[in-house]
Symmetry: D2
Subunit: 336 residues, 4 copies
C-alpha cells in the first residue's frame, strides 16, 4: 500500500515535492492539499486527483491522510506540525522547522508528550551522495579527526525581498545542519566576518559573508555565503582531517572543451544540484513512514539549527566580528 | 496499479534488477520467477513473495504476469523473447538480445508479425546522465558535427572463462550500442587492432584490444577494451566535434587528498558506475509498460549490435588489422 | 659581464640559490662566501671557485663583489643588510627582512639615507606563474573587485624546533606578502582562530591555525596553516571576486591512474613546488642589478610583513580569537 | 665563456630562439646571422649586435662562431648541416632534419665520416616536464610495460598553405619522435584512418586524421591530428600500461570559475604550451656544446622520424586505411 500524503502550503518547493512523489518515487501518493489560497490548492490538487481541504486541521484529520507534509511559510509551521503530532500522524516539515527557538521547543514538547518520533525536518543535504561519502570516510577514520571544515554556499542572484538575516536563516542553515550531521556534535558558537561588499547586491544586503562556527570539540567551520556571485549555484564542502582532505566534487557528468577552456558547468540552482538528494530524502521518508519508524533529521535538529542561526544573526547585527555562544537546552533523552 | 513482472533466469544481473524493482523503483513488482534450476528459482522468489514457475512458457502465460524480464544465458534468449511476443506481453531482454544475427532476425520477425513493439533490450548506457548530456549537446549543435569518438571500457580483472570474442560480444557491445544512440546512425565497418598484450591476462586472451568502427557518415570510433587493467572499472567516452570536445567525467561525488595525491576514485565495477543508469532504465521501462508504449532500445538495436559484433569478431580472428563490412538488412519501417 | 655575487650565511636555501646561479641562471656568478663557521664557508666556496671571507664586512667590501646575498639566520640580517647599503651595493635578503619591525625600520632608514633602492627581499611567491596569472586577471578586471581570498599553506611535518609563532613568522609570512602583492594594498588587522589540534604535531605547537587578515579596503583573507598534515606540501590561493573565482592549480605536469584512483601528486616540499619561481626571482634580481635598478619586493614590503606578523603573533598568544590592528608607519615617498 | 652561435635562416622559430638565448638563457650568445634575404638578416642581427654573413658557408667558417643553428626552410637543411659537420662545428637543426630520408642519410654519412656527434635535431617535446615525467614513470616500471599510447595534436586553425601531407610531416612528426623517445624503440608501421572531415578546413585538406603507429614490440600508438579545431592548441599524451595510466596534464597554473563554468584555459599556440621545453632544449644544447659532447636528439632520430613520416604520407595518399611498413636501415653503431 502506498503512503497517502497530505500537503499543507504547496509553494515552489511543495510542488516540486509533489512532482517527485507522483512521477519518480515509489510507495507514496499525494491525496490531499490545503493552502491559504483555496484556488491555488485547487490548481495543485486537480492534476493529481487529490482532495482539497479548507485548512490544515481538516487535512490532518482526514481519514485517508497517512502522513503530512508542511511546505508553507515558516511562521505557519509550528501550528501545522503540532496539530499533526497531536493527531498522531508523521509530519515532514520543510526547513526551517520554525523561525524561532521557542517555536521549535514547543514542537519538541508536543512530540515528547506524544511519546514517539513523528517529525522529520527537510534538511536534504544529508541525502546527497557527496556528503554521505564524506561522512562515511570520516567514520572509517581514514583522515583521523576532522579539524577544520570549509563550506561555500553561493547563489547567482538574490531578489530584493532577500533580507539581511536570510543569508544565515535561509541559506547557511543548510550548512549548519549538515555540519552537525557530518561531525556528529553540536555547534557551540557563531561569528560573522563581513568582507568587502559586492556591488551586485541590493544596497540593503551585506554580501558576501563569512560565517564562522565552532563545535563542542573545537572543530572550526567556515561558511562562505554569497548570494549574488553572478555565475551560478556553487556548493563546496572540504574537510581538513589530521591525515588528509575530502571535498565535494562538482558532480558533473561531463567535461567540455571549447574556446573558453576545458572544464565543467556550474549548476544553475539547487534543484539541479540536489535533485538526487531530494528524491532520496523523500523516498527514505516515505519508506520510514511505511515502516512505522521515522529516522531522518529530528525536531532536535531543527531546534539546534534555529539556535545556531540566532547566534549567527546576532553576530551579523553586532559591531565588528563578535563571537556569540549557542545556548542549547540539554538534549532530551527522547532525541538521543 | 503496479506492473507485475515475471523474471526468467535470474543470475547476477537478474537478482540486481529484482532488488532495484523491489526496493528503489516505483510502480513495479516481481511476482513470478523461473529458472533452469528450480531450487535457485525458489530461493530468489521466496523473500519477495513471488510465485515459482516450472519454465518460461508457464511464467509467460500466467495471468498475473503483465510483463517479462529475460536475464538468462544468451543462447536461451530467443525462445523466451519470442514466446513473450506471441503471448502479447512486453519483454525486457538483457543484452545481448541474442548471440547471433539470425536469432535476432527471428525475434524481429515475430515482433513485426505481432504488429506492435514489445521488446526492449537492456542497453543501459543510454540511461546514464553523462551519455545523455553528450547526446543533448550534440543535438543542440554546440560542437558542430561529431567527427571522432574515443571510448574506453576497462575491467580490473577477467576470469578464465572470459574467452577471446567476449571482449567484443560481451564488453564492447555496450559501446557499439551507445555509439549508434549518440550519433543516430548505423555502424558500417569494424576492425580490430591488437596492441602488445598485458602479462596480467590468461594466456588465451588477447588483451587489450582496439576496436575501430566507422559510421555511415564516416564518423571514426575507437573503443579501447582492456579487461585486466588491474586498477578498476574505467569508462570513458569523448566526442571530437568540429568546434570542441565533450567527454564523460568520472562522476565521482568527492575529491580526496592523501599521501598518494589528490583525485578521485575509480569505480570498482559496473554496478557502482552505472547504478543510476540501471534504475532509470528499469523505471522508464516499467512506466512505458504501464503507458502501453515501449520506447527503449528495440529489437533492431539488438540486431544491429549483433551484426557489428560479428564483424568485429571476424576481424579479431583474421590476420592483421582487416576491416570488415557490417551487413545489415534494410531497416524495416516498423522500427523507424 | 656577469654580476659577481657574494653570499653571507649559506645554509640550505643559500646553497640552493648558489646551485641555481651556477647551473641554471644567466649573467650571475657567486665569487665570494662567508659564514660564521669558516670551515662551512670553505666547503661551499671550493666547488664553485669562490673566495672565502672572514666576515660579512670583508665580503661586502671586496672589490670584485658587485652584489650581496644574505641567507643567514634572521637575527643577523640587519647588520649585513645595513652594511651592504652603506657600501652602496645591491643586497638580496632572504625573508624575513628582519625578525622585528624595529630592525626593518633601521634598514629602511639606512636605505633612504643612501638615496637609492638597494634591497630586495626574498618573497619568491611573487614570481610564481600562478600568482602572476591571478594578479594579471584581477588587474584586467575580469572578476570585478576581489572580496575574499582563501589560502592554504601546509607542510607534511615540522621538526621539534618549529616553535609556536613560526606558523606565522616563518610559514604564513609568504601569504602575508603575496596577498599585499596581489591586492595592491596594506593589511590592517590580523586575528588567529585556533581549531582542534592535530595529534601529529609536537605537544608545544597549536596546529593547524587559521590566520584571518583584513585589508584597508576590507578584503577578507584567510590562511589555513598546517605544518603537520602528514601528506605533502600543499599550497592554495583562491580569490573570490564579484563575478567569479580564480585559484592556483596544483601545477602538475601529469595525471596518473592507479588502484588508488585518478589524480595528481602533491609536491613534497617548497623546492619542488616553487623551483621555477625561485629561478625567475633570482634571474630578475641579477638582471635588475645589471640594469642598475632594483625592482623586486622592497624593504617596505619586508617591514609591512613583519608588522602583520607581529599582530598575528599577538593574536595567537591572546586568549580567544582577538583581532589586532596592524600599526604601520606612514609609507615613505621613497617606497611609493 | 659563452658559446658563440651563428644562426642560418632566422624565420619565426629562429627569432624566437634568438630571443631565448639573448634574454633568458645562460652561457650562449648569437654572434652571427645569415639569410637568403640579406636585409632580413640585417634587421635580425642589428639589435643583438651580431655580424651578418652573405651565406651559410661564410657564417659556418667564421672564426668566432662556435656552433651553428639551422632554422631555414626544410629543403635547405642538408646543405647547411653537412657544411657545419665538415667544419667540425656543432649544429642544432630545427625539425625536420631534412624532408627526405635520402637527405637525412647523407647527413648521417657526413657525421659518421667526421667521427663524432655534432648534430642535434630540434625535437623539443623531449624537454617538456610532462613527457619527462611519463618517461621516468615508465622507466621506474610503475605501470608495467606500455601497451597503447594515445596522442592528440590540435591547432585552432591552419592557413591555406598548409597542404595535405603536412599533417604528418609538419605536425605529427613531433609525436613520432617523442613516442620513440618515451618507448625507447623504433616504429615499424604507419597507417592513416580518415574520419569525417570538418567543415572548418580548406577544401584541399583532409582534417582531422588518425595516424596509427606500431612499434617493434607491438605498442599501438594513435595520434589524433586536427589542425582546425577552432578552439585552441590542444596536446595530449596518455600511456596505457599494464597496471595503470599516465597522461600529460594541461599544465595550467590556475583554475577559473565564471558563468561558462569551472576549468582551465587551452593554450593558444605551441609557444605558450612549450616555452619551458624550448628553453630547456636550448640551454641543454648550449651546455652540451660547452662540455664538448652533444647529447640531444641525433641525426638518427631525424632520419627515423623522416622514414615514419614517409610511411604515413603513403598511407594518407592510398585508398582506404592501408598499413605501410617503415623501412629503416640498420642502425649504425655510431648512434647506439
Amino acid at each position: 500500500m502506498s503512503v497517502r500524503i497530505g500537503i499543507i502550503g504547496p509553494g515552489g518547493i511543495g510542488r516540486a515535492h509533489i512532482a517527485r512523489i507522483s512521477d519518480r518515487l515509489a510507495r507514496g501518493r499525494v491525496v490531499a492539499v490545503t493552502d491559504i489560497d483555496p484556488a491555488h490548492a485547487q490548481r495543485v490538487a486537480e492534476p493529481i486527483g487529490a482532495a482539497v481541504y479548507p485548512d490544515d486541521a481538516a487535512l490532518i484529520d482526514a481519514d485517508d491522510v497517512d502522513a503530512v507534509m508542511v511546505t508553507s511559510f515558516g511562521p505557519a509551521h509550528e501550528g501545522s506540525v503540532v496539530r499533526a503530532i497531536e493527531a498522531g500522524k508523521p509530519v515532514f516539515c520543510e526547513k526551517p522547522l520554525a523561525p524561532t527557538a521557542a517555536e521549535c521547543l514547543r514542537i519538541m514538547d508536543a512530540e515528547q508528550r506524544g511519546g514517539r518520533r513523528l517529525v522529520q525536518v527537510g534538511f536534504m543535504r544529508r541525502y546527497d551522495a557527496g556528503y554521505r561519502e564524506i561522512k562515511a570516510t570520516l567514520e572509517r577514520g581514514e583522515l583521523g579527526a576532522a579539524l577544520i571544515v570549509h563550506n561555500r554556499h553561493h547563489n547567482p542572484h538574490s531578489p530584493q525581498t532577500y533580507l539581511e538575516g536570510m543569508s544565515i536563516t535561509d541559506t547557511a542553515i543548510h550548512e549548519i545542519d549538515v555540519m552537525r550531521f557530518l561531525l556528529g556534535e553540536e555547534i557551540v558558537s557563531a561569528r560573522v566576518d563581513k568582507p568587502k561588499r559586492t556591488t551586485s547586491a541590493f544596497a540593503h544586503l551585506s554580501d558576501p559573508l563569512m560565517l564562522v562556527l565552532r563545535t563542542a570539540s573545537d572543530v572550526l567551520i567556515d561558511v562562505e555565503i554569497f548570494v549574488n556571485n553572478t555565475y551560478g549555484y556553487d556548493i563546496k564542502c572540504e574537510v581538513v582531517g589530521e591525515r588528509g582532505l575530502i571535498a565535494l566534487s562538482d558532480q558533473n557528468a561531463t567535461v567540455r572543451t571549447s574556446p573558453t577552456g576545458r572544464g565543467n558547468r556550474i549548476a544553475a540552482d539547487y534543484n539541479e544540484r540536489f535533485e538526487a538528494a531530494f528524491e532520496t530524502e523523500l523516498q527514505e521518508w516515505i519508506d520510514s513512514v511505511q515502516a512505522g519508524e521515522i529516522v531522518g533529521p529530528t525536531s532536535w535538529d531543527g531546534y539546534a539549527a534555529a539556535v545556531v542561526c540566532d547566534a549567527g544573526v546576532r553576530s551579523l547585527r553586532a559591531h565588528g566580528s563578535q563571537e556569540f555562544t549557542v545556548d542549547l537546552i540539554e538534549k532530551p533523552a527522547f532525541y538521543a
